[in-house]
């Protein structure tokens, strides 16, 4: 139970992107994504400058590409779906490399790939250049409701605790001959995750008791008072 550094998404640095205020970065990300998503599917020439802007920001932030690339694995389910779309969609058929696929499906799949990749990379860049606490403060400045901000704060605080508990459960599973990666053991894995949920729920109750013991009366102290 040593001191850990749980920032798996944050990449420490001092670039202009790192130093920019969090609320501006959030607004920039939102605006950028709205523009990308609003771009018509087949306007491929327009996606190129968006991608160039994004890659420019990544370069400016000095976050290595080999740091961001493995974390883009979160996109995989969408990539799989995008690849399947030409095959499962209806409509006029066209030929690609000798295979007959749906043309609307092909167009939609390509658009999903492009917009999804740009979106994931942009979000990862924001996460890599912004400390979680600053991100929360940025959201507060953007007038996000207090309750939402507090819930996110608790989530960030306890994410590492819960994943550490999950890690310990997985170690115990493996030590007893059960490999979570093998489909044969997935029912056990599912039950372990259920147990983890219950434990986390009970921890939530204990945290509530601790809050009550320190005078919590239903309202969290205003953000201005608790820096």
């Amino acid at each position: 139970m040593g001191a850990g550094h749980g920032h798996r998404l944050h990449f420490h640095g001092h670039s202009p992107v790192h130093r920019a205020p969090a609320h501006l970065k959030v607004l920039a990300l939102l605006g950028f994504m709205l523009v990308v998503v609003a771009t018509p599917r087949q306007a491929y020439a327009v996606f190129a400058p968006w991608a160039a802007v994004l890659l420019g920001v990544v370069a400016l932030s000095r976050v290595p590409v080999r740091y961001l690339l493995p974390r883009m694995v979160v996109e995989v389910p969408f990539v799989v779906f995008a690849v399947l779309m030409p095959f499962i969609a209806h409509g006029p058929q066209t030929e690609v490399l000798g295979v007959s696929v749906s043309e609307p499906g092909l167009v939609a799949g390509v658009a999903l790939l492009i917009k999804g990749t740009i979106g994931v990379l942009a979000s990862l860049t924001l996460a890599a250049t912004t400390e979680p606490q600053d991100l929360i403060r940025g959201l507060q400045r953007l007038r996000t409701p207090d309750l939402v901000v507090q819930i996110m704060g608790f989530m960030i605080r306890y994410l590492d605790v819960v994943t550490a508990e999950l890690g310990r459960m997985m170690t115990a599973l493996r030590s007893r001959g059960c490999d979570p990666r093998s489909p044969r053991h997935w029912p056990v894995l599912a039950r372990s995750l259920g147990a983890l949920f219950i434990r986390s729920y009970e921890r939530g109750e204990r945290v509530h008791l601790a809050m009550l013991s320190r005078g919590y009366d239903g309202r969290l102290p205003q953000s201005g008072e608790v820096r």
Binding site: A3, I136, R203, D217, V226, R227
Partner: protein, 251 residues
């Protein structure tokens, strides 16, 4: 006789599922005392502790803190007077930085601005964690988190500090550091513990709770050397530890 800081009379409590945890507990703690609460697992120690700040409501009997009864209308003041440090520091450090966690209690009491900052730094100084004020809790070691948890309660300036298993899971050095901190504090202490040498080291007086009643309330040395009492209530001294061989007992 002055008003006891903690006065528990005839406290009885049964859980909603029918399990009777306390059968009429009487105990008192006076200002400046350090008292250990000993007893086997399942004796009702944690249940008793939860009554001290009104988290559980007594079925019968009463709890009074410096003359103020523990009742719904006084809960805020009771929770300021009785500072409970629970066993798992991760349950008590729930905000983003040490500063925010230590400030949580006093902020709920209405402190703001510079007064709040002073209270936070003062509490952290007393546990030796002032340098870590802006760190997130998960960047601290277990022993450090324990100390910050104590600070979160000290910041409310309680009249009695109630600790639930303070030495559990601490390495020997952290254990000693915590003992030094507790000795240096000028506050009444009630310590629930299984760690009998720790109880002897820090608490001149011990109360033994077993099966929901108090079975002994004497100097710790007398409890630990009463073999009959110890074996009747699943209390055992660690291997090699003999209280009679200790030259000078702490006062």
């Amino acid at each position: 006789m002055t008003t006891p800081v903690l006065d528990v009379r005839g406290l009885a409590f049964a859980y909603p599922d029918g399990h009777q945890a306390l059968f009429g507990v009487d105990l008192h703690v006076h200002r400046g005392e350090r008292v250990a609460l000993l007893g086997p697992n399942g004796a009702g120690k944690t249940t008793l502790v939860l009554h001290l700040n009104g988290i559980l409501a007594a079925g019968r009997g009463s709890v009074t803190v410096s003359g103020l009864p523990v009742a719904k209308e006084h809960l805020k003041e009771i929770r300021r007077r009785v500072g409970i440090v629970f066993q798992d520091p991760d349950d008590q450090l729930f905000l983003g930085t040490v500063r925010q966690d230590v400030a949580f209690g006093p902020a709920n009491l209405g402190l703001k601005g510079a007064a709040l900052d002073r209270r936070v730094m003062d509490a952290l100084d007393r546990v030796g964690m002032a340098d870590f004020v802006d760190r997130p809790p998960h960047h601290l070691s277990y022993g450090q988190r324990r100390r910050v948890a104590v600070a979160t309660v000290l910041a409310m300036e309680p009249e009695i500090l109630v600790l639930d298993e303070p030495s559990s899971n601490l390495d020997p050095a952290s254990r000693r550091e915590l003992a030094d901190i507790l000795r240096s504090l000028d506050v009444t202490v009630l310590m629930v513990t299984h760690d009998l040498p720790y109880a002897l080291e820090l608490c001149p007086r011990s109360i033994v709770l077993s099966e929901g009643v108090v079975v002994a309330d004497r100097p710790t040395f007398d409890v630990l050397t009463d073999d009959e009492l110890m074996s009747a209530h699943r209390l055992e001294l660690p291997w090699g530890f003999d209280p009679r061989r200790i030259d000078s007992l702490p006062r």
